[in-house]
Amino acid sequence: MSYKIAQIRLVSSHPEVYEPCDDSFALVDALLSDRNNLLELKPMLCMEVGCGSGYVITSLMLMLGEEANGAQFIATDINHHAIKVTQETMEAHGVYAELINTDIASGLENRLAGSVDLLVVNPPYVPTPEDEVGREGIASAWAGGENGRSVIDKILPVAEKLLSKRGWLYMVTLTANNPSQICRQMMKKGYASKIVVQRSTVEESLHIIKFWKDNDIEADTNDVITNSKAVPLGIVDSVRSQIQRLSFWGSCDINTTTN
C-alpha cells in the first residue's frame, strides 16, 4: 500500500533553498518504511531540524495523517528563505507545523528537553573546508566541514537533549561521515541504532540511521564507567554487532525489519 507524501510539483522553491534530492527521498522512504512503527509509537511532539524545502516534514505529516492523533510538529531552519519555502510547501499540501528560524534548536533546548518523540534530521553532511560551515543561504544546507561532521557533531548532543525517553531520531549520513563511529558515539549515550535505508548514487552512498534509547545499553555503559578495567561482554557483543551491521552495508535498498 502506498501512503501520501509531499508532491514534488507542490514543493515551493527559492534559489537559496536546497531542493528535495536523493537524500531527502531516502529519508522520506525510511520514514515510510517505518510508518506503522511510528504510529504505534504515538508521538506527541515531532520535530525536524533543518527543514529546507519542507519536503520531509510535509511528507511526514501527510503519511501519518489523521492517525497521528493530534501530534504536533515543529520545524527549524537557520535559513529564513527555507522557512518561507517550507511554509509555502506545507500550505500547498494543507498541513501545518510550527516554524522557527533558528540555529539547530537554539531557544528550544531548555523547555523542549526530553519532550520530542520523533526527530528527523537531514544535516549538512558534505565534507567541505571548515570555513564554508555556517555561511548564509544554501551553503548552510550542505557545508559540513571536515568529514562532513562539523554540524552533525553539533546536532547530536542537542538531539540527545531533546529526545524523550521513548523518542526516535532519524538522521541522514554519508559514508564519509563515518556513520559507524557516530553509532558508537551514540551508543555511549545509551542509544541503539540501525540503518533503515541504504542507497548508493553515482555521487554518494547514503545511510538513513535510526537511533533510539535502549536501557540495556545504558546499563552496560554505566558498568563500563564504574568498572573501567573489565568491559562487560554484553557491550562488546553489541558493539561488534553494530559494527558488523555497519561494515557490511547489505545489498537490499530498504530494510524494513522492526527493532
Binding site: I74, I78, H80, Y96, S106
Partner: protein
C-alpha cells in the same frame, strides 16, 4: 506562532539565566481553527508552564485561561474547558510582533508567524 511554541521558547542569549518566558509584544493576532484532540491536550498539559501560558493568552487578548493551573480532573471531565484550552494553546497565533528576552530586553522579531531566534550580530 502558537502559544504552545511560546511556552517552549527561551532566550538563547549567552549568559542569560532567566530566559523564560519571553515577553510577547503583540502587533497582530490571528485565529486559525484546528481540530481538537483531547488526548493531545491531556498529554501536553503537564509540560505546560501554566503561568507563562495564561499570562501569554491574556496578552494575546484571550481572558478565559485561569491564573492558577486547573486540576487534572478538570481536563478529564470538563469538555468546555478543554475547548478553551485548545483554542488558547493551538488556535491563537502571534502573526506579527516580537518576543523580548526577560533579562536583557533583546528583541526577537515575529514576522508572518515565524519567530526569528537567530543572534547574528551578538555572540551566542
Amino acid at each position: 506562532m502558537r502559544l504552545l511554541t511560546h511556552n517552549m521558547l527561551s532566550s538563547n542569549i549567552k549568559g542569560v539565566t532567566n530566559g523564560f518566558p519571553l515577553k510577547i509584544q503583540v502587533e497582530k493576532v490571528v485565529e486559525k481553527q484546528v481540530e481538537i484532540n483531547h488526548d493531545f491536550l491531556r498529554n501536553i498539559f503537564p509540560k505546560i508552564d501554566w503561568k507563562a501560558f495564561s499570562d501569554a493568552s491574556r496578552i494575546m487578548g484571550y481572558d478565559e485561561m485561569p491564573e492558577e493551573p486547573p486540576e487534572p480532573s478538570v481536563l478529564e471531565l470538563n469538555v468546555e474547558f478543554l475547548g478553551k484550552f485548545h483554542h488558547a494553546l493551538l488556535e491563537l497565533h502571534l502573526e506579527e510582533g516580537a518576543l523580548l528576552c526577560p533579562e536583557t530586553g533583546r528583541k526577537f522579531p515575529v514576522n508572518k508567524g515565524i519567530p526569528n531566534m537567530l543572534l547574528l550580530e551578538d555572540k551566542v
